[in-house]
Point group: C2
Chain length 122, copies 2
Amino acid sequence: MKKKAVVNDTAVCQVRMQAISDTMSILSGKWKFHILGTLIEGNKLGFMDLLREVNGIGTKMLSKELQDLEMNRLVSRTVMNTKPITVEYSLTEYGETLSPVINELAKWGVEYRKSVYGDTQV
Amino acid sequence: MKKKAVVNDTAVCQVRMQAISDTMSILSGKWKFHILGTLIEGNKLGFMDLLREVNGIGTKMLSKELQDLEMNRLVSRTVMNTKPITVEYSLTEYGETLSPVINELAKWGVEYRKSVYGDTQV
DNA sequence: TTAGGCAGTTTCCTCTAGGAAACCACTTCC
DNA sequence: GGAAGTGGTTTCCTAGAGGAAACTGCCTAA
């Protein structure tokens, strides 16, 4: 009876689904959210800083993910002309538009922990 | 000089990073966001409905992802006693707490499309 | 001069996420 | 009696995501 109603929604969903696909393909992989989350907090960080902050990541993955993020104009890479050459990674202005997404994700994760381990435990 | 400042932040980040890890591990895989996004819009949907709405997914993956989501109390599965047996999948109350996350994700994806194809194109 | 820090690249290997297709059981429509 | 719809499970296969470790190259401090 109401099966047609679902089909009618399809056009509406299509835009949403496409949007979700887009976002997830850009933020694909195990580490993008972590890197972005760290850069939101850390502002400007070097390669080794990120390697230390992003728990468990290795040099190959960090390098590759940063390249991906740079290609999508979410992260900027600046080579500083310091004594030993250093590199500064930071969010671009555009990358900062992801803050709400990452923050919602983090917020939910915090609530999830509470619901699993109880509010007493922090 | 200021390198110590980064180290000081670590404790703060740790909670955040853990939260992001938790969320992403629960929503891991290619399809969870799509399924949840569809259920947010569609309210109550059957297996075949989801198979049609979630573009590109196959029966095996849909089945597996739904089981994952059910195990994490995000989705409920109700067998209806109808003539040909039907099943209703819907978000649990807890699953609905994910709406802000999914919605931010979708919102960002929409803006992303605009920035790529221009505002003229919808 | 050698050890250590920065910033990666390259190679090699493994594991598993995910797709295609076949199959199952049950019902109802024609 | 067979086609079609519901709701899956099982098997088989492979592309590629991701880890470990070694290597590069440059600079500095002890």
